[in-house]
């Protein structure tokens, strides 16, 4: 027996019934973090892996070297994208209760992570999302109806009914197909970026994963390959504090930040306020410039909070305090941007209210149209297509099974 030893088990700061507590979260004031050049050496970036890059402060002011000085029209756009994302999330989430869709995963509270990054990148850059990045599609101006129809498995479903809701893809918009298997997209993004370098094309790749999923092998492979070949890729870890029921400490966030994994591979790691549109935009821009200039990969940790349940199958009140989100010190990304715009004089509470209403209406209309193409329980899709796309051409074997199926259907 050794009294010193016992298995150390990471603990969340609070469980249901206890008051929310974010004292574990290392913060930093807006504007405090220095901004090295995108060509900086790893050494010059090392502190950024453990500090927190923030631009918008609690009053809505934009501060410091990381302020990307976006034009107002850009900020209005970002606000709209985030609101559309949230409204769509809310609409489809509710439809799950009604049985029109089987399942849903919302991104509430994390909209800035996707929207600001997409805006900081170029259309030719390839995005490798996880299931909570619907904002990427929205910020690349995809009509939300496309996403809705996928969730509904209806006649306009881009996945032809084959995939669970939210497993979108968009070839034309350069957004990769989402996998149900966590983290697999990260090393694929690195491979995509390697090909870009081999072809000497200016496009870079950008991938996202949840902090919980960094424990998967793919995260390691992504860092290794990105480091070895200095691939033009941005790897984003969305640290929303939770992975289903387990706290980010169980993923390895207790003793070190996730951004800090980068420097261990010679890759800059930037820890950023994920609810701060300006900060997310700025770090993405920095990393993109670095990659495009031949400087290789960047690892970005986005500190945010999963405001909703993990999915419609989840009940977070079983494992965390009900009001945790309200106590989250980095707030709500939409409110943060709204406040910044109001502070800068380019927005008002009234205009905001009007915009919310406009978007709500628009989403309601879009949803109506989407539903008119069918819903999961009454899917108009032809099940015969289930035998397609296993291979480019159906093999004789699949042909036989298809015939068997047709015969049986009568």
């Amino acid at each position: 027996m050794n009294a010193n030893l016992s298995l150390h088990v990471p603990q969340p700061p609070a469980r249901p019934g206890e008051p929310a507590d974010f004292s574990y979260l290392k913060l930093a004031p807006a504007g405090a973090a220095p901004r090295p050049l995108p060509t900086a050496s790893i050494g010059e970036t090392i502190d950024l892996a453990v500090s927190l890059i923030r631009v918008i402060d609690d009053e809505g002011q934009a501060l410091g070297a990381w302020d990307p000085h976006l034009e107002t029209v850009q900020l209005h756009k970002a606000l709209r994208y985030m609101l559309v994302t949230r409204a769509m999330d809310d609409r489809v989430r509710r439809a799950q209760r009604g049985g029109q869709v089987s399942f849903y995963m919302q991104s509430m509270g994390e909209e800035a992570v996707s929207v600001a990054a997409a805006m900081a990148l170029r259309p030719g850059d390839m995005l490798f999302p996880t299931y909570r990045n619907q904002g990427l599609h929205i910020a690349r101006d995809r009509n939300p109806i496309d996403l809705m129809c996928q969730c509904l498995s209806n006649s306009h479903d881009m996945c032809k009914g084959r995939q669970m809701p939210v497993m979108y893809h968009w070839r034309e918009g350069n957004i990769f197909s989402i996998s149900g298997n966590l983290a697999t997209q990260l090393p694929q993004a690195v491979g995509w970026a390697m090909a870009s370098a081999i072809k000497r094309e200016p496009h870079i790749a950008c991938a996202w994963t949840g902090e919980g999923s960094t424990a998967e092998a793919d995260f390691h492979h992504a860092l290794t390959f990105a480091s070895v070949y200095r691939a033009p890729v941005i790897l984003n870890v969305v640290n929303n504090q939770w992975a289903i029921s387990t706290f980010q400490g169980v993923a390895g966030g207790e003793h070190q930040t996730f951004a800090a994994r980068g420097p261990g591979f010679g890759i800059p790691g930037l820890r950023v306020d994920g609810n701060d549109v300006l900060a997310v935009y700025a770090v993405t821009q920095w990393a993109a410039e670095r990659a495009r200039g031949g400087g290789g990969p960047t690892l970005i940790e986005l500190v945010t909070y999963r405001a909703g349940p993990h999915s419609t199958s989840d009940d977070p009140s079983r494992y965390r305090p009900k009001d945790e989100w309200r106590a989250f010190p980095l707030g709500d990304p939409i409110v943060r941007l709204k406040n910044h715009l109001i502070w800068s004089g380019a927005w008002s509470a009234e205009r905001h209210e009007a915009l919310v209403k406009e978007i709500d209406n628009q989403i309601a209309e879009t949803w109506k149209l989407a539903v008119s193409y069918g819903t999961l329980p009454e899917s108009p899709l032809d099940p015969l297509t289930m035998f397609d796309d296993v291979f480019k051409e159906r093999t004789p074997h699949l042909e036989r099974q298809r015939e068997q199926f047709m015969k049986l259907k009568g």
Binding site: L7, G161, R162, S213, L398
Partner: protein, 338 residues
């Protein structure tokens, strides 16, 4: 006798195993404080503490590797893989390590681990929450592979698996967690309380691995199946009135060839049915074995009914599922002997 659904039966097996043997520990994603996404480990952390019911990082390969190390250090880990579809990151640790450790060390080291794997479809899970990959483990020498079809067997087999000195991959057809399922998704759900196999002793017992069960005796044809399809096949047999013998394989490795062969040699006809995709699926092994053992008694080719060789499509779940129509059609064909 208490009545349990399959979740409760599994929970009870683990509870009793932990009570009887301090070395039994549980690890997996969300299995601890939360009690598992299917709630199979509900209450166990509260009862046995965080040192014995361990929430892990999301790394299936790490979970199995850590479990191997723990077992080499005298523990008897029960690892949960959240969905069968997510077992592949652990495949190397299972195939190259778990299955091979005893052999390569000539018996000096071994890893008595049970890997619990919720599997199968019918829950609108789409292609990444519906798979039945048992064939991918059946072909791997060195691991045992079982799949119960009811709460009684689930508890008895899980207890046997945990107590077994060899590694066991334990597939749990999740469509059966809450009740038997006859492949009609529109009918009101049936509960295990209404089923004789929902009677589960509260205490310790085992169902030995390596033994198939004759679920229904019959003389006209043998239907060999396991998992969710056991119940679908039963429903078909009831509705057609054909005097079929239904065998629940239960134990894929080791396989109870004797029970299968005795039955088919008696009936002269055979259907093999499983939910997994057909091509190179475990059904092929069953067919190959049965044709060898009963060739001279067979009066018709053995038919397979299985998942189509495509991923499990979300919207066409019931067109994909090898349901009653397909089983009935195969039955008709085998009875006609064409």
């Amino acid at each position: 006798m208490p009545r349990m659904n399959m979740i409760q039966a599994l929970n009870s097996a683990m509870d009793i195993a932990m009570q009887r043997d301090e070395g039994v520990i549980i690890l997996g994603q969300d299995v601890g404080y939360f009690g598992g996404v299917f709630r199979c480990t509900d209450g166990l952390q509260k009862k046995y503490g965080e040192q014995r019911v361990i929430d892990t990082p999301i790394a299936e390969g790490g979970i199995i590797a850590a479990a191997i190390g723990m077992s080499v250090n005298g523990l008897r880990p029960v690892a949960e893989i959240q969905f069968a579809d997510y077992i592949y990151p652990a495949y190397d640790q299972i195939v190259s390590e778990l299955a091979r450790l005893r052999y390569r060390s000539a018996g000096e080291f071994s890893a008595p681990i049970t890997v619990r794997v919720p599997s199968g479809g019918g829950i609108r899970g789409g292609q990444t929450h519906s798979q039945s990959p048992e064939a991918l483990f059946a072909h791997v020498c060195g691991v045992k592979v079982v799949m119960p079809s009811n709460p009684y067997d689930a508890k008895g087999l899980l207890t046997a698996a945990i107590e077994d000195d060899d590694p066991v991959i334990f597939f749990e057809p999740k469509r059966l967690y809450n009740g038997p399922f006859d492949a009609d998704p529109d009918k009101p759900a049936v509960a295990w309380t209404a089923h004789s196999k929902g009677e589960v002793p509260a205490g310790h017992y085992t169902v030995p691995m390596g033994k198939a069960e004759i679920v229904r005796a019959g003389s006209a044809v043998t239907i060999i199946t396991y998992g969710t399809l056991v119940h679908v096949v039963q429903a078909v047999v009831e509705s057609t009135g054909i005097d079929a013998e239904i065998i629940d394989v239960r134990s894929i490795v080791p396989l109870d060839v004797e029970t299968l062969a005795t039955s088919v040699c008696k009936t002269g006809r055979c259907i093999v049915a499983h939910e997994a995709t057909e091509f190179a699926g475990f059904g092929a092994e069953l067919v190959a074995t049965v044709q060898r053992e009963c060739f001279w008694q067979l009066e018709a080719p053995i038919e397979r009914v299985a998942g189509w060789d495509t991923p499990y499509p979300h919207a066409f779940e019931w067109e994909y599922f090898p349901g009653r129509k397909r089983i009935a059609a195969a039955l008709e064909q085998v009875m006609a002997g064409t």
